[in-house]
Symmetry: C2
Subunit: 360 residues, 2 copies
């Protein structure tokens, strides 16, 4: 099969075909300079320009205020689970966490190594089928920050609005960063692995307020201090050059689409098509409560696990890949990040109607 | 300039053109499956096969014993500076370090956060122009390990033979891994950033003996325990997929060249051509003592800084890139890792003779 499939994978995920073509050209011969992109020294003027452009585009698209740093780190969002509390907490310091899924639960576990962690909300007992409203929890007094995951990839839930708390927000935005406008100034730290909405795996974008750079205890290794990387523009050691380059190309594509405000409308439309298909029949059943539904990951079930297996298998046979739900909740999941084409959503919905009719 | 230049960069460094071509094809359409390489889920059977093949080739080329794990981590070799002692040391535990350059010095600084570190040797006062022989130092009694850097990229020094100590060896092999055969069984841990001899930046290969996996204190974050990654075949979280793929392609290329024993002969020949050129005139002067000379990085000086600047500039103009020495020692440096073509070394030597004649 050489025709392009529809890739509903939760991440690494589908990317704009134009970006793949650019990367293919540059890998062999970067800007016709007789050297491949991945052979460029990270200290070459060519790569420095790539990194600067990538940072500039992220700043522009998310309207990042000047008193924030944009860092390109390694180790995935999972490494931020400990880096955030390692840098911001310490003996006697407190933070409030919202437990809305597997990733927040993991973040809570790591944070407990570094401070007094209050879990103010959990939807674990209902298999994380919802995120809280502001009335559902209270932020513990003297919390250094309120930590939450804006979009829960596995369960298909998303904060439609950010928490209104006056406490500084810290958010894992791995699966919905740049899918909609966000007021960065309300956050102390935003971080996101690139492999869902920004590019390939291998780089984690960390946006942090610069007054948070000096919180380190002496016992924190050099590489684990945000300040180390901020002081050297993410070039303290060799950065993940190729992933940074690709993020830049995706940002450029996103800008061409009209930026995050335009993208939000497209995302609402794409998700709307799918949720309408789910709600329009008893055959499909969404996992998330309606008010908590994600525009990025649509998790749903069919009447039986057998039908789910057949659905996933028959879908794959006609070019819809990655629809299997996460093993922790089973069922199906369609991940439709920024780069997922709208016509693919329409085609999936047609397939779903057809499958329901044949098997309902 | 679309003709390929000769890239003497110390890392990221030159790669085999065939690997760049493979990557360019696979990025757009992986194995004709209608999906790009960097869009593949890390849990897809396609990418799992890529990771398995890469690990298998490293094992084969380095003859890694069965009781060793091969991990693909992130954060660069610099992250191993703290991960090694964080996992292997603890209060009251001791290790011996050899200070042969900037990277070992940084490793010593981080290790001191986690244990009792004895620096048994240092060539810092002579600008790291040599590595020790076994007679030059004693390993502190009860050391958990002896730590050293096999090849010092900046200064152009290399251990021609590994230390004979009975103490378990731990080595940073970032700049000479796979350039020659090595007896892995003498090491507890070997690690190397990929961007010199293995592929693009973004992945660090860690080879470690499996009895070292259980040394963690409870206070070590999940992501910083070797066991976390070993238990999940480096898929505890999303790995740097593209870099792992490229390492696999480079390993495949290396196998086609005859493996590490054949490559060592080529490397000896390439470095020999350059050192002969340096030794054959008073115009050029090698930085390293002869017995400590590196086959990977050849650091040398010209009579004056002005001549060095002109040399680097004129060389760049005719397609020799990356010859500027590290800012800490100045001068010139030719990095000629496995993938650097022999004809490029010959052409540089011709250029050097010409330059010396005109300016000597």
């Amino acid at each position: 099969m050489s025709e392009r499939i529809y890739n509903f994978s939760p991440g690494p995920a589908t990317l704009p075909p134009s970006v793949l073509q650019e990367a293919a050209t540059d890998i062999v011969n970067f800007h016709d300079k007789g050297i491949g992109l991945i052979e460029l020294s990270h200290r070459s003027k060519e790569f420095m320009a790539v990194a600067e452009e990538t940072e500039g585009l992220i700043r522009e698209l998310l309207q990042v205020p000047d008193n924030y740093k944009v860092l390109f780190l390694q180790g995935g969002a999972s490494s931020q689970f400990y880096m955030v509390p390692m840098n911001l907490l310490g003996t006697g310091k407190k933070a409030t966490y919202l437990n809305t899924g597997a990733w927040s639960k993991k973040a809570i576990k790591e944070a407990k190594l570094f401070g007094d962690i209050k879990v103010a909300y959990s939807s674990e007992e209902s298999t994380y089928n919802r995120v809280p409203t502001d009335d559902d929890y209270s932020v513990a007094t003297e919390s250094e920050y309120l930590y939450f995951v804006t979009n829960n990839t596995i369960y298909g839930t998303q904060f439609a609005d950010m928490p209104k708390s006056d406490t500084m927000l810290v958010a894992d935005m791995s699966s919905d960063i740049l899918s909609r406008p966000v007021d960065v100034s309300r956050f102390g730290i935003i971080f996101a692995g690139a492999q869902k909405n920004m590019g390939p795996a291998g780089v984690t974008v960390v946006i942090l307020r610069d007054d948070l750079l000096d919180c380190n205890a002496e016992t924190v290794p050099t590489m684990l201090r945000y300040k180390t990387h901020a002081d050297k523009d993410s070039m303290f050691n060799t950065p993940p050059c190729f992933s940074i380059y690709c993020v830049g190309r995706v940002m450029n594509w996103l800008k061409e689409q009209g930026g995050v405000a335009a993208m939000e409308k497209i995302n609402q439309r794409k998700a709307g098509i799918l949720y309408d298909a789910i709600d329009g029949t008893d055959f499909y059943r969404g996992h998330a409560e309606k008010a908590s539904r994600s525009l990025m990951n649509i998790s749903f079930n069919l009447p039986t696990p057998e039908l789910e297996a057949r659905f996933i298998s028959e879908a794959a046979a006609v070019g819809f890949d990655g629809l299997k739900g996460h093993r922790s909740i089973g069922g199906c999941r369609a991940s439709i990040y920024n780069a997922f084409p709208e016509e693919g959503v329409q085609k999936l919905v047609d397939f779903m109607a057809d499958f329901a009719e044949k098997n309902g």
